[in-house]
């Protein structure tokens, strides 16, 4: 595990209220789960940041070790891993996601 990459991940998840590690980019997602997750957050109309783990193999290997979660996408809110595609959609259905986002964005 690269210490520099680990530092970069820590700093990224702490400085971005909503950070999503995805395959591809929001406009050109390379995986259906990444696309569905990005679209959910787009539908909220809130600012969020993404990192492309396909373009950066160090991230792809180090993020799962950092978060202790094996799969992508990974959604971090306020520095904490909230889940992947299934979990954030299930939370949205239960009305548990929006309060977290509002709290993180201070609205």
């Amino acid at each position: 595990m690269s210490q520099d990459t680990l530092k970069q991940i820590k700093s990224d998840v702490e400085s971005n209220k909503i950070l999503i590690y995805i395959k591809g980019t929001p406009d050109v997602p390379m995986c259906g789960f990444s696309a569905a997750t990005v679209n959910l957050f787009k539908s909220f109309g809130v600012p969020f940041t993404t990192r492309d783990i396909i373009a950066n193999n160090d991230l792809r290997q180090t993020v799962p070790q950092f978060s202790n979660w094996p799969t992508f996408p990974q959604v971090f809110i306020n520095g904490k891993l909230i889940g992947g595609c299934d979990i954030v959609h299930e939370m949205h259905e239960r009305g548990e996601l929006e309060p977290l986002i509002k709290e993180a964005l201070g609205k």
Binding site: W69, L81, G83, I87, E90, M91, R94, E96
Partner: protein, 93 residues
């Protein structure tokens, strides 16, 4: 690993749990797991899932279980869903 063995592992870790385990492929290594427990109260969904994953610990790591699809509910969140679907499931002690 049999469905009943998966169930036992979870029951050991989450004693009040209502657990349903389905072998997805017939290969005894890919399971759909549904758990309802009071121990999930107040926990984020991801942390509920982690509790179930951790209960399977060794079996997931050594490959006896290859993949799991987990669904978790608190008694309250499950009651909401079952009320709307007419299911009369109740959590039992």
């Amino acid at each position: 690993m049999r469905e009943s063995e998966v169930k036992e592992l979870i029951k050991k870790a989450i004693s009040d749990a209502h657990i349903e385990v389905t072998d997805m492929t017939g290969g005894n290594d890919h399971f759909q797991i549904f758990v309802v427990s009071r121990e999930f109260n107040g926990k984020l969904l991801i942390d509920q899932h982690r509790m179930v994953q951790q209960s399977l610990g060794a079996a997931l790591n050594d490959g006896r279980i290859h993949a799991v699809q987990i669904k978790t509910e608190t008694p309250e969140s499950w009651a909401k869903k079952t009320r709307s679907s007419g299911n009369d499931f109740q959590i039992l002690n």
